[in-house]
Symmetry: C2
Subunit: 145 residues, 2 copies
C-alpha cells in the first residue's frame, strides 16, 4: 500500500514538469485501487486553453483509462486547491476523495459559501503543501524577474 | 448583422445533433465580430467524459480558432444555463457576453449566492428559452420511456 505522501509526490512530479515547460506548476494524479491511472499537469499555455488545468486533464484521462464517466472509486491528488471550474468538474465525476496540497486563498473553490463538490466526496488538505507552495512561489518569482 | 435569435438558433441546431446522438441536448456557439468561430454540443456520453459539456468544447474550440486563450471580444450562445464547471471555465476565458436559453433551476450556476463568472462578463438570458426547454423535456421523456 502506498501512502498519501507517495501519491502527492507523484502529483508534485507532474507540477515540476509544468514548471519546466513554463506553465503555472500544478500537477495531479488519479488513483484507483492503489494504482495511478492518470497523470496530468497544467497545460493552459501549451494548449492555449484556459480549461486545460491539471485536474481537468486528469479527470478526462482517468475516465478514459477506466472506460467509465464516474470516478466514485477514485482519489485525486493535486498539488494546489482546485478552482471553481475544477470543483464543478469533480462534482460531475463524483470522485471519492480529493487530496490537495497548497490552499489557493484567491481562486480556490473553498472560498465559496457553498460546497461546489459532490456531497459524497471526501476532502483532505495540506499533504506536502509546503513543497507545492514553494514551487508555485518560485515560478511566480521567476516570472516577475 | 445577425441577431441574437439567429445565433441562438445555431446553438439550438447543435443541441439537436446532441439529441440525435442520445446526448443530453445542449448546444453552444461562440461568436466573434458577428461570426461563428466555434460550434459544439454536449458529448459526455460519446467521449465518456463528464467535462465534455457543450460550453467547455466551445471554449476550447474558440480559443483554438483565435489562437488566443482569452475570449474577451467573444459571445457565447448556449441553449441551457451553464453549470458551475462551465461558469468557472467561462470565468477563466473572460468571455465578453453569455446568452443562454433555458434556465437550469437545479444545476445552473446562478443558483449560487456568489457570481462565478468574470465581473466583466455580461449575461443575457431567455433567448429561445422555450425551444431549448422543449428539446430537453422531450429528451428526458424519451429516456424515461
Amino acid at each position: 500500500m502506498y501512502t498519501d505522501a507517495y501519491f502527492m509526490n507523484e502529483a508534485l512530479k507532474q507540477a515540476k514538469i509544468a514548471f519546466k515547460e513554463n506553465e503555472i506548476p500544478v500537477g495531479a494524479v488519479v488513483v484507483c485501487r492503489n494504482k495511478v491511472i492518470a497523470r496530468a499537469y497544467n497545460q493552459t499555455e501549451r494548449l492555449t486553453d484556459v480549461t486545460a488545468h491539471a485536474e481537468m486533464l486528469a479527470i478526462t484521462s482517468a475516465a478514459n483509462a477506466l472506460g467509465a464517466k464516474y470516478l466514485t472509486e477514485c482519489k485525486l491528488y493535486v498539488t494546489l486547491e482546485p478552482c471553481n471550474m475544477c470543483a464543478g468538474a469533480l462534482f460531475w465525476s463524483q470522485i471519492g476523495e480529493i487530496h490537495f496540497g497548497a490552499t489557493d486563498p484567491k481562486r480556490g473553490y473553498s472560498n465559496n459559501p457553498v460546497n461546489l463538490l459532490h456531497p459524497k466526496t471526501k476532502v483532505f488538505k495540506g499533504v506536502m503543501a509546503q513543497e507545492a507552495k514553494d514551487l508555485l512561489d518560485l515560478f511566480f518569482k521567476k516570472l516577475r524577474n
